[in-house]
Structures are given as structure tokens and as C-alpha cells.
Amino acid sequence: MTMNDGTTFGRRLLANPLALAGLLVVATLFAVSFLAPLLAPHDPNAIDLKNILIPPGPEHWLGTDQLGRDILSRMIWGARISLKVGFVAVGIATAVGLLLGTLAGYFGGLTESLIMRIVDLMLCFPSFFLILTVIALLEPSIWNIMAVIGLTGWMGVARLARAEILSIKEREFILAARCEGAGHLRIILRHVLPNALAPVLVSATLGVAGAILTESALSFLGIGVQPPTPSWGNMLTAGKDNLEYAWWLSVFPGIAILVTVLGYNLLGEGIRDALDPRHYRRRR
């Protein structure tokens, strides 16, 4: 299926309540990220040692942390991290995967076997170990995290792109383009890639969810986004340290991660179903 028929695709997507819910979550994440300075009731980094570990109440709706900072405000600012990590990491993974997968599928032969061996190699790496190694050895920064998550997550996209291109490149319209004298680059960019984009879009949307989960785990372990910059993952570290006294530190940032990841997953599944109604009937 192609996305040529944009209106049908949009209508199908919006007719699916689960996909709509996912879209709503993602839209909310965008809105909260952009409007963070307006929405946050307090300064997310304002330390107030007279009001530490206050339970949720009228002044601090979701309570305060061990330094007296407002949890709700920190969560609102933390949304920016999740938004950024998801998009940049998946952008990198998709670009690398598309490039290598396309090269492998289009040219075949030695190029293909070399690239696909690298894919196999990367797939049997316990990838979290690799991510951990790289991140811990580099200076922990959000840019390093996004780069590493992206560079260890492109294999699925590469496989998808290769498979799609293998099935597309034998079609008649490619032959027609070649007869008209189009070069490899033009054929790939104008004729092959646009037809392979649909499954890649689905996998990218689901990939955003995975990237957000990985970032939160790294930040939780203390090697991701560094405090005082608030991220949902590093807020949970404080939750672990104050497990006995302050449940609110652990509960709320986790809910934010869960809802966001759930939203991206629902949206991804929804896009898949909207692109391919046959799939919808077969699988559900």
C-alpha cells in the first residue's frame, strides 16, 4: 500500500479509536513540551529546602522532591527530553537503516552480504550492554544518548527497507524508469524509496517508543540525562533513593513514561492498520 491516497489514510486513522487516543497522547506531548514555560506552575529547578518531600497537595499538586523542587513542573519540562530523544534517536536510526537497507536491496551481491552480516552481528549483541559501554565511557549528555540509541537501533529498519526494495525493484515501473535513462540515485530516490516508506514509518513510530524507554532506563541508572536537567528517567532515581518515604517521586514520572510510550505504540499500530486494511482484518 502506498500513501498516495492521503485522505483515505487520514480518515481510516481517525476512525480507529485506539489510534486516535495515541495521536492525542503524542499531540499532548508536543503541546506540553512547547508550552512548558507557560504550563509549569513553579520553576522546575527552584530548590526550596524548607519544603522537601512534601506529599501531593494544593500547593504542589504532585508533591516535591528531596530538594523541594515541584514534581509537576519538573515532569512538564521533562517532556521536552522525551520528545527530543524520541525524534532524534529514531531519525538517526531510520536514516542509517534506510541508507544501508536500500544499498543492500538495490545493489545486491557483495554489498548486500556485507551489510546483512553487519546487521546479524549487531542483532546478536546484547544491545543494552553496548549502549551502556558507550554512554558510560563518553561524557553523559543528551546528544551522546540520542546518537548511541540511534546507532544501535537501525537494524530493523535496514531489514525492512531491504525486503521492500527487493520486492519493488523488479516491478515494471522501475524498468520503465531505467529505460528512460534514469541513474541509480534517481531511481532510488524518486521511484524505490517513496514506495518503501510506509512500513518504515510504522517502524519509526514504534521506534520512538523504544527510544524513550531506553533513555529513561539510562537516565535512571545515572548515565543518561544529568541532573539538574529534569528527565522522567532521572526523576525516578530520586524515587528509588526515597523509596521508604516518598512514593510520589516514583509513581508520577513513571506514569508519564508509560502513557507516552503507550501513545506512540497505539499510533504506530494505528498507522499500520490504516495503511493496510487487510492486515487489520487478518490480525485482530
Binding site: A217, G254, R283
Partner: protein
């Protein structure tokens, strides 16, 4: 079959070589080096002393030389000595940690299978029923739940508020000399939360996968045949359909190994369990190069072996797959 297995084992070698080469390069290209950490506590460390340390750990040699030397030792089954204070052989350090991590992962795999297969079958057979919908919601929420957050919530609930379960370590203090059952129960209470947490992540994916396999299988002609010849529904589902739906699960289990092993870093750190994941985290933080390489090598080898086992058992159960010794 033996020929196939030995060929697959031989194919693992270049893979392991590639993995170690990537890890070694990545690790050493990162700015900074272990000597910085060792001397950071001592501002009086002279450049000369630093050079002596570098020479002692072999860090003064060029990268390719160091890799070849490391590889030469590994071929002789020597993973080198840890950079840490105790300077113990890397293999000794890993050997005492492996059983714990493997045991937890094996238990959680068992738990995943014990729950995911019945859930998958039920959802497929009663597709669109109320229970199927509830299970589907559970699966989506399961996919989206960060494992470490679930661990925190369970620790707060069962450890802090209810006080039913211990929240860290593998055994209670002062149990030496206690009877077998006392120790067994104590160990089980410590393992319960870690196993639950590590199983949770895989549960959602595998039950979903089981469901779609089953849905696929029960539309096949041979199922219609089985029903048409009057077999009871139990036999049709439990025997004819289940066997065929189970086969792809074997492969998925093989592929889920890297995730499980990687996940152990997280839950071992949270629950303070002295396993491979915790060892690795400590090694990375201390830039203990030989130990990092050792754990990565063993982890990758375990993963490859798991995949091989999955492929072999697949070939054993699926008569359509013929493994030829001579190709």
C-alpha cells in the same frame, strides 16, 4: 545434524571476532582512560608515575597490538586480570556471577512460557471476547511499562507498605547454618520480585506472538479437517493447532535472549543482586577494560549459543525443515 551443528558453531567464531573488535574499538576510542580514574584521587601523581601505570596495564601500546594480544590470550582461554584493586582474573569474577544471572533469566523464561502460552491460546480461541480485549489492553500496557519503574512500584508495595518481601540482595543476614528449607524459602522470597519484573517485559510480547500464531493456525485447512472428522474441540486446539502454533515461539525465545541479558543490568542494579549485569555496570563505571571485554564476550557467546539452540530445536520439531549434512 551433527554436521549442521558444527558448521553453525564454526560460523559463531567470525561473529564473536566481529563483536569483540567493535567493542574493543568503541571502548578504546572513547576519550579518557582508566589511569585518569586511578590517579584522580591523588593530585600528586606525576606524569612519570602515570606512564609507569600505563606500561603496567599495557595501555602504552598501540590499539591494534593490544587487541591482537588480548585475542591471543582469549584463544588460550585467558581473559586477563581485572584492573580493579583486587586484580583478580576476569574469568573468576565472571564465573561466580554467571549462575545467578542465568538462574534468574531461566526462571523468568519459564514463567513467561507458563503464562504467555495459555494467554495466547485463550485470546486466539475466544478472539474479540471480553477476556481477549482485557488481555490485549494488558499487552499494550505491558509493552509500555518501563521495567525499572515496575520494580520500584513492586518494591514500594510489597517491600515498604506491606512488608511481605525483602527488596534487595539475595539472602537475609544471619542465615548461615540454618536448615535447607529456611534458606530455600529465604532465597525464593528474595528472587520473587526480580523474576516477576524480568518476566513482565517478555510476557507481553510473547503472549501477543502466541495469539497471532494461533489465529493463523486455526484458519488452516487441516484444522477444518480435524473438526470435520468430529474430533472434540479440546483435541483440535490442544493437539492439532497448538503444536503448530508453538513452533515459531522457539525462535522468538532465541531472539529474546539479548534483551533478557541486557535487562539484567537494570534489575540487578535495582534489587542489588550480585549477577553479571551488576558486575558489568561496575566494570563500565570503573573503566575496567579487561572485565568489560570479558563480560561482553561471554554475553555475546551466550546469545549466539541461545540462537543456535533455538534453531536446532526448531529443526527437531518441524519435519518440514530438513537439515542436510552435505550441502
Amino acid at each position: 545434524m551433527l554436521g549442521y551443528i558444527s558448521r553453525r558453531l564454526a560460523m559463531m567464531l567470525p561473529m564473536l571476532l566481529g563483536i569483540t573488535l567493535i567493542s574493543f574499538t568503541v571502548m578504546n576510542l572513547a576519550p579518557g582512560e582508566p589511569i585518569d580514574l586511578m590517579t584522580s584521587m591523588n593530585p600528586k601523581a606525576t606524569a612519570e608515575a602515570r606512564e609507569r601505570l600505563r606500561a603496567r596495564y599495557g595501555l602504552d601500546q598501540p590499539l591494534p597490538v593490544r587487541y591482537v594480544k588480548w585475542l591471543g590470550r582469549v584463544v588460550r582461554l585467558d581473559l586477563g586480570r581485572s584492573f580493579s584493586q583486587d586484580n583478580r582474573p576476569v574469568w573468576d569474577k565472571i564465573r561466580e556471577r554467571i549462575p545467578i544471572t542465568l538462574a534468574i533469566n531461566a526462571l523468568s523464561l519459564l514463567l513467561i512460557l507458563a503464562l504467555a502460552i495459555p494467554i495466547g491460546i485463550y485470546s486466539a480461541v475466544r478472539q474479540h471476547s471480553f477476556v481477549d480485549r482485557v488481555l490485549t489492553v494488558f499487552v499494550f500496557v505491558g509493552f509500555a511499562t518501563p521495567t525499572f519503574w515496575l520494580a520500584l512500584l513492586l518494591m514500594i508495595l510489597f517491600g515498604v507498605h506491606l512488608g511481605w518481601l525483602p527488596i534487595s540482595g539475595l539472602q537475609s543476614p544471619g542465615l548461615a547454618g540454618a536448615g535447607f528449607w529456611t534458606i530455600f524459602v529465604d532465597r525464593a522470597r528474595h528472587l520473587l520480585l526480580p523474576v516477576l519484573v524480568s518476566a513482565f517485559g517478555g510476557l507481553a510480547g510473547i503472549s501477543r506472538y502466541m495469539r497471532s500464531n494461533m489465529l493463523e493456525v486455526i484458519r488452516q485447512d487441516y484444522i477444518i479437517t480435524a473438526r470435520a472428522k468430529g474430533l472434540p474441540e479440546r483435541t483440535v486446539i490442544g493437539k492439532h493447532a497448538l503444536r503448530n502454533a508453538l513452533m515459531p515461539i522457539i525462535t522468538i525465545l532465541g531472539f529474546s535472549l539479548p534483551g533478557l541479558i541486557g535487562g539484567s543490568v537494570i534489575f540487578e542494579t535495582i534489587f542489588a543482586i550480585p549477577g553479571m549485569g551488576q558486575l558489568f555496570y561496575g566494570a563500565v563505571m570503573a573503566r575496567d577494560y579487561p572485565l568489560i571485554m570479558g563480560v561482553l564476550l561471554i554475553g555475546a557467546a551466550l546469545t549466539l549459543l541461545g540462537n543456535l539452540l533455538a534453531d536446532i530445536s526448531y529443526a527437531l520439531v518441524d519435519p518440514r525443515i530438513r537439515v542436510h549434512d552435505h550441502e
